[in-house]
Amino acid sequence: MYKQTYLCEIVEKKQLAPEIIDMTIKSKELAADALPGQFLNIRCGDGCSTILRRPISICDVDPAADTLRFIFQVKGSGTQFLEAKQCGDTLDIMGPLGSPFHLLEKVDGDVILLGGGIGVFPLFLLAKSIYEKGVKPTAYLGFRSADLVVMEAEFKQYTKDVKVSTDDGSYGMHGYATAYLINHIKNKKVGLVYACGPEPMLRQVQSICHENKVRCQLSLEQRMGCGIGACLVCACKIKKQEGFAYQHVCKDGPVFWSEDVVFGGE
């Protein structure tokens, strides 16, 4: 059987925060296959004046209802197109794409989910999946400011503890969510960290985990073309014996083991 693109109906749409839209679509095929950390590649225009699809990570899946949920920030022409869509409209979607978060059978120590900004959303399905395996992770979520804090209550259902930080201190701890991670590692044994967020945050998580010898998976982001590993544009540096090799976020990732990732210069 060949893969295909799916025309999916939007069944729910809400605004969670300024410029943060929460959308649920119906698709039996996508809902059946989706794993935490994977993404959908959504056509955001006529495919001619706006060519590139937008990769948006999967936030939640309900296989019983055949629905998938994703949350996105309205940033440019593509996401503006998505924002204008209403319940009952359809979206042309490829997916689920990418290699998912690795769920380990046995983790020696606490499992931490660390999300920054829109990087919080893919961690939700991950939290649920870990919870269903009988482990309660701890979630540390960072946002820019109080008005952008979302999903705190939802994460609470599947975690031991949720702590929120804001860059400006308007809600929760003043600072970055990585401070919670440092603190947690100091006080308790951490077995595995999953992180998704802006690159400066991921760099910090990488060095914290490296220094403390904690295993960690990072979900990376890069400008994509085809989304399936053919065009090779979404390159990321992955360690090999001598130096690095370029792998691709869309197919080899977006999730990589932290120790394999080489962050670029600048």
């Binding site: 001619c48 060519i51 590139l52 073309g225 053919a230 065009c231 090779l232 979404c234 370029y246």
Partner: protein, 309 residues
Amino acid sequence: MENTNKSLKVNIGGVMLKNPIVTASGTFGFGKEYGEYFELSRLGAICVKGLTLTPRPGNPPPRIAETASGILNSVGLQNPGVEAFVKHELPHILKHDTKVIANIAGNTLEEYCHMAQIISDSATDLVEMNISCPNVKQGGVAFGTDAEMVYNITHEVKKYCKQPLIVKLSPNVTDITQIAKAAESGGADALSLINTLLGMRIDIHTKKPILANNVGGLSGPAIKPVAVRMVWQVASAVKIPIIGMGGIMTGSDAIEFMLAGASAVAVGTANFSDPLACVRILEEVESYLDKYEITDINDIVGKVAVHRK
């Protein structure tokens, strides 16, 4: 009415393609990924990712930027090298009933010749010589912008090529017909045009170019009128067949290129918005033939009815 007897076969330098739809080099990898979306034997030919003599890591990211009706890319010929292609990638493509075009890009004349020799001993059907890549420092477009150099390189590489040789032309030149004629006199069996147009995008907030390479190649519908014009000009300047490309998103676009003088067409950027673009375009081309009761696709090649001035 559907005409089941119509012929879609086209001849590119002595190789018969079952239909005129070819994948554009660099947008389709080695076929594996899109082969999960449709049967690759639907294609007239697969033109693979540009190959170099030794493996190339490619340029740092970001390698892509979106523009109005187009994209800029600067992948920088990331590829496993021509030998790895022959050994590891080609066998997979050969399982499908389609023709294989190996796209080669060298830093020096010697490299082009060496690659042509390696390809000659493989089951590749055609060689496309890329003298027009805008994204690498050495070679690439440097060879493709001077008529004398184009003649020389074509003439030399041809000696090592057992397969028909296609020369891929750059639009970043003053007069593309001069370059086309030079390739033809050098012994090219066919031409493909156009490669991407050199472009740039700047993020006004960071004041930095979006591409890490600063500049990159523009493709997509934005360049289509330029490509159609160049195919038309070149078609009236040379006798060898042309594979036309540049922003083909629909069957109508493909027909436009064929009317301008292309015997076959390559689909590139369209694959990104629609992974089934090649198959859809083929079906749309067939409906056009049915609509106008055309029984042989070659009957439309170069049949643009230009206005008399």
